[in-house]
Symmetry: C2
Subunit: 375 residues, 2 copies
Amino acid sequence: MTEFGFTLIAQDGAARRGRVTTAHGTVETPAFMPVGTAGTVKGMLPAAVAQTGAEILLGNTYHLMLRPGAERVERLGGLHKMMAWDRPILTDSGGFQVMSLTGLRKLTDEGVIFRSHIDGSEHRLTPERSIDIQRMLDSDITMALDECTPHPSSFEQTEKSLALSMRWAARSRNAFVRRPGYGLFGIVQGGIYLDLRSRSVADLTEIGFDGYAVGGLAVGEGQETMFTVLDHIVPELPADRPHYLMGVGTPADLVGAVARGIDMCDCVMPTRSGRTGQAFTARGKVNLRNARHQDDPRPLEEGCRCPACTQFSRAYLHHLQRSEEMLGPILLTWHNLIYYQDLMAGMRRAIETGQFADFTAAFHETQNKGDISPL
Amino acid sequence: MTEFGFTLIAQDGAARRGRVTTAHGTVETPAFMPVGTAGTVKGMLPAAVAQTGAEILLGNTYHLMLRPGAERVERLGGLHKMMAWDRPILTDSGGFQVMSLTGLRKLTDEGVIFRSHIDGSEHRLTPERSIDIQRMLDSDITMALDECTPHPSSFEQTEKSLALSMRWAARSRNAFVRRPGYGLFGIVQGGIYLDLRSRSVADLTEIGFDGYAVGGLAVGEGQETMFTVLDHIVPELPADRPHYLMGVGTPADLVGAVARGIDMCDCVMPTRSGRTGQAFTARGKVNLRNARHQDDPRPLEEGCRCPACTQFSRAYLHHLQRSEEMLGPILLTWHNLIYYQDLMAGMRRAIETGQFADFTAAFHETQNKGDISPL
């Protein structure tokens, strides 16, 4: 039986090259997890997602518990089987979406009562229920239920919210049924207050988790503040467990996070941007809706291995966006996922060879030139 | 240099097994052409369309002339190159969509003036302009401009409309620049009036075309009337040229059309139905939005080679439809295109082996059971 675990393979400064072992296979880290909200990475077949290089997906407990329903997913053989993805899956706890998407009815020490954004029906989420839902989904990595403290919040608000999250973390740990290859991650909260962040790490390590996530960032505090929090907190995290930065971010965010010892990231950015005509490239972000692409016969990105770049012109990608053709979002999602995965692969190689600083410098050199590429 | 042509390989009753040769390759007939309206089969990569078995696509002159524009497509190297489809393409003349989609401004003997459904801009379409647009698109098979007579129309209206279409057919022929491997098809009109249909065939064969299409059907006259028209008209078409039934239809329509000597068909039905949750199967049409699929672990169709059937359950396909996930339309479009292509392949084999009557009987046996498949 596979034991859930983390192996540190190489280190370059604070940047770590590792491997997470789960019931459904291994994940080379630093890893980026595409988001498959409702049991599908929007517009992509699972085989295509795997071809981008993704080794682990993120599923959203909130969406799946409402539709098709956790019990139904379990009857269908679990999330892997239902969505035909046989590699590892991490699920969030549902807490973040309950706070951000629903008509929240009541938050108590026990849990939250909320109304579905789909049909208004009333639902209950507690640490125990969240853990049980994630078990039914057959998630390789289960996340503890927490309250994602809104930004900005005062020290007092943040402290109170953190205390609740830490009580829920302990209850999540108690509710989690250990099975070989399955892991439970705790989530560090504390907002922008470094001593609260440290207190959170102390509480979580006291409880003991298979991995440690940093939550409550990329919620409006800015990249500099986010990096300040990571600089402070990541060194305090157990070095023998994976470090997961939740919901982050831009390519520059990822490079900065890995530089600070983050092993795993997830974000809707590559997929959501792809659906609105935004492409990530070595020369920065490109908006394919812009009229200056309409006669451009060149590929979106020379040398990229994705179907958008190997088969089509910028003019055609522009046409698809303007015509609101499904193939437009499909192709740009594909491109962006490959951009993100290749960025992670580049960082993994750089850490292995002790060239992470060079990699970072080269990355910043080429990025942020903006969407300038005269014909 | 490849000459455009049609080879009759086998015949079984009136059903014909043939091969159309074009500048971009050959098409085994009877053939079904998926519709790639705006330079893309909605939701499908060209390689996936080819894997369904499609050997020729239909492009819409009306949509492409408005966006991205015929001159732009020509500058980008033609429609094949722009959309990365290197097999044959047939384009319609634009006439049908001008009549059905636009604020038609003026119909004269010269042509039509209409307003774009996209931005309201005024455009002009004449036989000469339509042929020139299709040349710029680099269409292997160009369609003559005609007026698709509305249904119902009186004999007098139909006769007047037909006369216009026949004058336009002659002008289309004159405007068409012959190039090796490229063909021009005329379109038989005449509504439900069999003598007008015969007059149309006589007029067109007098002008002389590389293929003959039957237009103005499947516009509300019903399958029986459509078959009556085909029974009457197809025997009058030149036997050494391909016979193309435009915009048709259901699987039963196709089987009936092929039985009457039709070689080529196109229809939005498999793609459009796929986008609204409808699947064509050996047991009839299935609506995946129906709640009775929500817990059904079985594949949509046992033995089908498409990704929807080989990788996923009906429950999951239902979930995708209900969640309005892009993957739902993608998978059902894929399935339906394969259903249509495999139906055509089955008919081709049956004609070759002289078993078309058996094929037809078996087809009707399994179809029209409706959407009944108890768990």
